[in-house]
């Protein structure tokens, strides 16, 4: 049997890339109100005269599409790295505590500062929810990273990361319990995730950081391939495991940490999309898998935002987190069932 993937792989990439662009265009047209292609085109060309139309397209829909695509790509790329590093199909971008760290940052900002009466301090306000979330997730990842230099066994790191997350969740729980109703709502809204609250100014930070994270993710495809066989094999094939781990953690901080800071926790995309990439491309080679997972991440988040918009027409504003869960969970269940049937 020859390797049929040689023909199928480029075809799949083409289909996914076209789907990504088509969904992005579709998302520009479909919203709480539909806008015709001609109108959108005139806005993009700068010839549109309707100021309201320009605002909707350029300041609302376009940023949202860019954020959704970047978030999906980032989460999927970091999820794939975590699954390979921990050799665990249920690992995702949040296993190291990114989510917990970010939520602690946000909880401190929205819940603790009013309690302490320092909520109005100008330096704190300038950080905002996003800044605090980013600081929180980066702090946790730095902590896990520094611990991982001392810990040889990768599964020990996984357990430490998960326990750290649980401990932080408990702290956040205490803050929630003590918080006022108003501040509690601000926190809960953040935990539901959103891609439409990011401003154009924030995009200037989000996009470059995600791009750097994705470049790092591509740069570690060879280490990831070697790590498929476990760390002993990787080391005897000449891999500097400590350095590779650090690069992978850094990439995940930039990708998952930043996206979570800006959009809140977005569940299951980072967990499910790498699996979808494996199933569709039928490979474990990260040279193919990494770009495939990135494209699947973009496609899936665009689908989710379109679904949100369509539901929103009926007057119900669903948090994007609920849609990503509904989309991602069936994929995970399928993968788990498939794996258990095969053995």
């Amino acid at each position: 049997m020859q390797d049929s993937r040689n023909i199928v792989t480029p075809l799949l990439f083409a289909v996914l890339a076209v789907a990504c662009v088509a969904l992005a265009v579709g998302d520009l047209l479909i919203g709480t109100t539909n806008i015709s292609f001609g109108d959108v085109w005139s806005v993009l060309c700068g010839t549109a005269e309707d100021e309201g139309l320009r605002t909707i397209v350029m300041r609302m829909r376009l940023p949202k599409i860019i954020v959704a695509t970047a978030a999906g790509m980032a989460l999927s790329a970091s999820g794939l790295q975590m699954q390979t590093l921990f050799r665990n199909p249920l690992a995702g971008p949040y296993v190291l505590g990114v989510n917990a760290g970010a939520s602690l940052g946000v909880a401190l900002f929205t819940l603790a500062t009013p309690m302490l009466g320092i909520a109005a301090m100008p330096w704190l306000v300038s950080f905002g929810v996003t800044g605090m979330a980013w600081i929180g997730s980066a702090a946790i990842l730095l902590l896990v990273m520094s611990l991982s230099r001392k810990i040889r066994n990768i599964n020990t790191i996984l357990i430490v990361g998960m326990m750290l997350s649980s401990a932080i969740s408990a702290l956040v729980g205490i803050l929630q319990y003590m918080g006022t109703d108003e501040s509690l709502k601000a926190f809960v809204v953040w935990t539901m995730g959103s891609v439409s609250t990011v401003t154009i100014e924030q995009l200037r930070l989000l996009v470059p950081v995600v791009v750097v994270g994705l470049v790092l993710a591509i740069a570690v495809v060879k280490p990831l391939n070697m790590l498929l066989l476990g760390e002993s094999y990787a080391r005897t094939m000449g891999l500097n495991v400590t350095r590779s781990r650090a690069l992978i953690f850094l990439s995940t901080t930039l990708l998952a940490g930043t996206v979570t800071a800006f959009c809140g926790p977005i569940g299951f995309i980072g967990l499910a999309m790498p699996h979808l990439a494996r199933i569709t491309f039928r490979t474990a080679d990260h040279k193919v898998l990494m770009p495939a997972a990135i494209l699947w991440g973009g496609v899936s988040m665009l689908v989710c935002t379109i679904a949100c918009d369509i539901v929103a027409r009926s007057g119900v504003m669903l948090p994007v987190n609920t849609i990503t869960s509904l989309l991602g969970i069936p994929v995970i269940i399928y993968v788990v069932l498939r794996n258990s049937n095969r053995r």
């Binding site: 049997m1 020859q2 060879k222 066989l229 002993s232 094939m237 891999l239």
Partner: protein, 252 residues
């Protein structure tokens, strides 16, 4: 090729070997024998630079291990352990291709020559027919051969194997060790494998390294059989070693 110079080996606080010396050459199949917990794996891991020796030197090609970079070592010594690699959607070809890592570019792209070496390695290990199968669908015996093909693709002069026969049935154990013997003799490699199969080791290996705590007794197979070391180590109230048939007898 692999030289142990007066090494001291420990696992945690427990000393396993002291003053162990041996010289293993290319073209030679060496079996590492010893009871459970005597440090066979620890020794193999130390030679592969996955662990450390507490004293003495491991010398590869005349150069102490401490002076060899990990990239350099990856082109001299390959390592195969007992761990089964179960990765979703990983074909045998792709797995063996990962063995080319010390020679490929930053992305790990395969050139024409790399592909030819991967195919040749699969052929040498007798698994070229499994090339496009996913590794998780392979039997333990097939999987072990694919892992050996990966070590071959690494194009090293030495291959270390930690209990390569442990999950295999009896015919597969013999066939795998015959494969190792053939690779040592025909590909002129230095192959060191740890095993509990006394009869296979004594039939097929050129030399035996026997862990007689805290010593490492190293000699050609025939001398080892005649030396009486094996009887002394493996005899108990219930079993004894018969040097003529290379086999273990039960006392009744």
């Amino acid at each position: 090729m692999i030289e142990l110079r007066d090494i001291t080996l420990a696992f945690g606080d427990r000393e396993l070997m002291r003053g162990a010396s041996a010289t293993m050459r290319r073209g030679e199949l060496v079996a590492l024998l010893g009871r459970n917990g005597t440090g066979k794996s620890t020794l193999l891991r130390a030679i592969a630079s996955l662990g450390r020796v507490q004293g003495g030197d491991v010398v590869i090609d005349g150069k102490p291990l401490a002076d060899i970079t990990s990239q350099e070592l990856a082109r001299k010594v390959a390592f195969v352990n007992t761990e089964r690699v179960d990765v979703e959607a990983l074909t045998a070809f792709d797995l063996v291709a990962i063995g080319r890592a010390p020679y490929t570019d930053w992305m790990g792209r395969l050139g024409e020559e790399d592909r030819a070496i991967v195919e040749r390695s699969l052929r040498l290990a007798g698994v070229e027919n499994l090339m496009w199968r996913n590794v998780e669908t392979l039997s333990d015996g097939e999987c072990q051969r694919v892992m050996i093909a990966r070590a071959l693709a690494q194009q090293t002069d030495a291959i270390l194997l930690d209990e390569p026969t442990s999950f295999l049935d009896l015919p597969n154990r013999y066939e795998l060790c015959m494969l190792l013997q053939r690779l040592a003799h025909e590909q002129n490699k230095c192959i060191l494998f740890s095993t509990h199969e006394l009869d296979i080791a004594l039939t097929l290996a050129d030399s035996i390294a026997l862990v007689d705590t805290p010593n490492l007794v190293y000699m050609p197979t025939r001398e080892m059989v005649a030396s009486g070391h094996i009887e002394r180590l493996f005899n108990s109230d219930y079993i004894s070693f018969d040097p003529d048939s290379h086999s273990i007898r039960l006392h009744r």
